[in-house]
């Protein structure tokens, strides 16, 4: 009995110790460090990751792709064109200034000026101040993606960016090239402050004492961020204990990390779709729907996921990943070589033809290997492919020229919404509106164009879902492009660094809420 009591005492003691987590330091390594401390300078994953550390958005995505309140504590739709946001009171910037509606409007206006972000904010008319803690976001037309867009509004400290720097330049200038105040200085409401930054080598963060979110379980008070470019080195740094948390994890090392007892692996089905586009302007054959379908039937994308991606992906039959409004559960990968051959025969290309293909070799996971595999699969329906792969730096200019008959493109929707895929990848290319900017296949279907443009004004989620699902169905039936897979995401951390609750499919780990035991 006494022994039992002793055990119980130890158990209680253990529980107490594990609950009262003490302040901890996180050493983390990504493949690259953010380009700038200005959240509006470049629209990229790196910028958004940093923004979630030193700033806070009005609302943010949660793991179920819903919205969590951040510096806006609640919101409601007032009318077709207006959504009202009620700001949290007493939220302070790193300088100590209080965040108010004026800061939000100032940030909104700056976003409208940013070359990278103005596209996302194009549907918005204004940000109107109702009172000190209330703002209205007004759109030009009824717009369903107001909350999606609000995840991009990270209020900046208006007073901090006011005035001129030592060289007489305005502090709020958004400068792409050359140094600027906002690129190297920041004041936000976020959980962390950059205490030291040596670009390309290391960034040190310390926790902001006046952080508004007192309910956050996060106990990390210091972060040492090191970019480690080489994947094997990044993995070695984690396994040897030099760092606590890494991302991305290369597919080749997934097994190894999963089996290691000292580290935890967290993976998540991703939202970036990888596709091939078949250029109908360059190849008359691709104008024939049957030929496009034959190609889709000939490509064993489930095999690619299994063999080349080592299971690190989800084979796709459409653009929208599960969880997006437009995701159409009826669409399944359709590898069927016999059917492919029949379709080629029906189209009159039984003997096949020769085409050119280009793909990057350092942009997507295993991009060049995927391209090589597809070349082999197309040979089975007598399509001879002349493949060229190249680094992304050289690939994008080639892509803009539409330099090959078949080109690879991966896309992640900036709005986490289905229509973004179609707007960029499958709508009729139009240099004035910018639609179809990445539609190298030149697929054009007035019905799809109309559905997407109409869907942009539908604020009724049910109706909009129907429209977006229909778009996916049409693109699937038309074989507008060749869907391959959605790339998975993976993070790994030392045991005790509880990353599972704070990572998400957008890959903006909410490090402010991270708990280290």
């Amino acid at each position: 009995m006494r022994k039992l009591i002793g055990l119980a005492a130890i158990a209680v003691l253990g529980a107490v110790l594990s609950v009262s987590a003490v302040a901890a330091t996180l050493k983390m390594a990504y493949d690259a460090d953010p380009v700038s401390m200005d959240p509006h300078e470049q629209l990229s994953g790196g910028t958004l990751q940093l923004s979630h550390m030193i700033f806070d958005p009005l609302v943010r995505w949660n793991q179920e792709l819903g919205f969590d309140a951040r510096v806006a504590e609640r919101w409601q739709r007032i009318d077709d064109k207006t959504v009202r946001f009620h700001l949290r009171k007493g939220v302070r910037f790193h300088t100590g200034n209080e965040m108010t509606a004026l800061d939000v409007r100032w940030t909104f206006d700056r976003l409208k000026r940013s070359p990278d972000f103005k596209g996302i904010f194009a549907p918005f008319e204004a940000c109107n101040i109702v009172d000190k803690y209330t703002i209205d976001l007004v759109t030009k037309e009824p717009y369903p993606l107001v909350l999606h867009t609000a995840t991009y509004i990270f209020p900046m400290d208006r007073k901090y960016y006011d005035g001129y720097d030592a060289k007489g330049r305005p502090k709020d200038a958004i400068v792409k090239h050359g140094d600027a105040f906002a690129s190297t200085n920041a004041s936000g409401t976020g959980p962390f402050i950059v205490s030291k930054r040596e670009q390309g080598v290391r960034v040190d963060f310390t926790r902001f004492g006046g952080y508004w979110d007192k309910n956050s379980p996060g106990n990390v008070d210091k972060i040492v961020f090191t970019p480690i470019k080489e994947a094997p080195t990044r993995v070695a740094a984690l396994l040897s204990g030099d760092v606590d948390f890494i991302a991305p994890v290369p597919p080749a090392d997934l097994d190894r990390i999963d089996k290691d007892s000292k580290v935890d692996l967290v993976t998540m089905s991703g939202t970036r779709i990888i596709t091939f586009q078949l250029n109908q302007n360059r190849r008359p054959e691709f104008k024939d729907k049957r030929v496009r379908q034959a190609i889709v039937y000939a490509i064993n994308n489930e095999g690619i996921v299994k063999k080349i991606m080592r299971g690190f992906g989800t084979a796709a039959a459409q653009q929208s990943p599960k969880g997006y409004l437009g995701y159409n559960p009826n669409l399944k990968p359709r590898y069927d070589l016999k059917k492919a051959k029949q379709l080629m025969k029906a189209a009159g290309y039984e003997k096949g033809f020769s085409v050119t293909m280009m793909a990057p070799n350092n942009r997507y996971v295993n991009d060049d290997k995927i391209a090589v595999a597809v070349v082999g699969m197309l040979a089975k329906i007598n399509i001879k492919v002349d493949l060229k792969t190249m680094p992304k730096a050289q690939y994008w200019p080639k892509y803009d020229e539409r330099a090959a008959d078949i080109m690879m493109i991966g896309w992640h929707s900036d709005t986490e919404d289905s229509s973004n895929f179609t707007e960029f990848l499958a709508m009729t290319p139009d240099t004035v509106t910018g639609y179809g900017q990445y539609n190298s296949g030149n697929y054009s279907n007035p019905e799809v164009d109309k559905l997407i443009i109409d869907s942009q004004k539908v604020t009724d989620a049910k109706k909009r879902t129907m429209m977006l699902k229909k778009v996916e169905q049409i693109l699937h039936d038309d074989a507008a492009f060749v869907p391959l897979h959605w790339q998975d995401r993976a993070w790994a951390a030392r045991k005790g660094v509880d990353i599972a609750p704070i990572v998400n499919v957008m890959n903006f780990p909410y490090l402010g809420d991270l708990v280290i035991k």
């Binding site: 470049q42 990278d116 596209g119 140094d179 390309g200 090191t226 730096a393």
Partner: protein, 328 residues
């Protein structure tokens, strides 16, 4: 001597001009820097606006002339990524690279001379055979593989040494050094071994071959006949003459070593010039790429000049500048 130096300075200027022309003419093939500066969904019109602003749409000669004019004032352009003058960025990273090369050089000198001499004196000894065998392996394994193997053995499996980076450094007269802190030294070990792994076997073989040849020469035979001690013959008479060609090759190899730092630094995430260059290529950071090539060209010219000077000191039969009115 003075004439020689003037000649070398002119040579250096020509080398750097040629490099800058080449670098400038290939920049269009490196990719589009705008792609790295803006997000993927930014419209083509916005991109063109930025391109105009950066002067990337100007004709080649206009761009090159603008570059030359600035370069004469010491401005090699501004890095797109770092947003600071390219020359300044490179000079910031120079200490890390030079320390790496220095560390590797120490390893090479300390190991290659005794091993080379030993294998020449006792060619049939098992240790000699072992050293020769290992050196073959060293030459044939690419440096990045050596580096990754070192990391896995000493950092992951044994946990003795850190896996990446430079560790703690201290500033000494504006030079950040890792040689003066324990953490910095520990971080230097693996990268230096990896970097030396290619050149070390080469030097062992070179010293061995030269030494073997010298030991066969008349004057050594005469020394034996004269009854001089073994040590005196080996280390004073033979080794001295062995080192002449080694110095020449060594000078050239220091340049090669700097080239190999690109691989070593990338694997070890070593914050030096080589890693910087590879990243710049990935990001199409053209001003930084051009500045790097020019700086490395300059380093090559300087090391070659220094080697020629040393060679002149060690071997009195070599004259750097021909005297007026005839040859030797």
């Amino acid at each position: 001597m003075f004439a020689f130096l003037v000649k070398r300075v002119i040579q250096a200027i020509i080398v750097m001009l040629v490099i800058s022309v080449i670098a400038f003419s290939i920049q269009d093939n490196l990719g589009d820097p705008l792609r790295e500066l803006v997000g993927q969904s930014v419209s083509e019109a916005e991109r063109q606006k930025l391109r105009d602003k950066l002067g990337l749409n100007d004709p080649f000669l206009v761009q090159y002339w603008r570059f030359l004019k600035k370069a004469l004032h010491g401005d090699l352009g501004t890095s797109y990524f770092f947003k600071r003058p390219a020359a300044e960025v490179i000079l910031d990273k120079l200490p890390a690279t030079l320390e790496l090369v220095f560390g590797a050089t120490i390893i090479i000198v300390v190991f290659s001379v005794p091993t080379g001499v030993f294998t020449a004196i006792y060619p049939m000894h098992w240790l000699s055979r072992f050293a020769m065998g290992v050196s073959i392996v060293g030459i044939s394994i690419p440096v990045f593989l050596t580096a990754i193997m070192l990391i896995y053995v000493f950092a992951v499996q044994l946990g003795w040494l850190p896996s990446f980076g430079r560790g703690d450094t201290v500033l000494v007269y504006g030079w950040s050094t890792g040689f003066l802190t324990k953490d910095g030294l520990v971080h230097l070990i693996l990268p230096c071994i990896a970097l030396s792994s290619i050149i070390l076997p080469l030097f062992i073989r070179l010293i061995r071959a030269e030494m073997l040849e010298v030991l066969e020469s008349e004057y050594v035979k005469f020394a034996w006949a004269k009854g001089l001690s073994r040590r005196r013959i080996w280390f004073l008479h033979a080794l001295k003459n062995t080192l002449l060609p080694v110095i020449t090759v060594g000078g050239v190899q220091i340049g090669t070593l700097i080239a190999y730092t690109i691989l070593t630094e990338t694997v070890f995430q070593w914050p030096g010039m080589g890693f910087l260059f590879l990243e710049a290529v990935n990001r199409v950071d053209t001003p930084l790429i051009i500045a790097y090539l020019i700086v490395v060209g300059l380093i090559f010219v300087i090391t070659n000049t220094v080697v020629d000077l040393i060679y002149g000191l060690v071997n009195p039969t070599v004259k750097l500048a021909r005297p007026h009115g005839g040859g030797e």
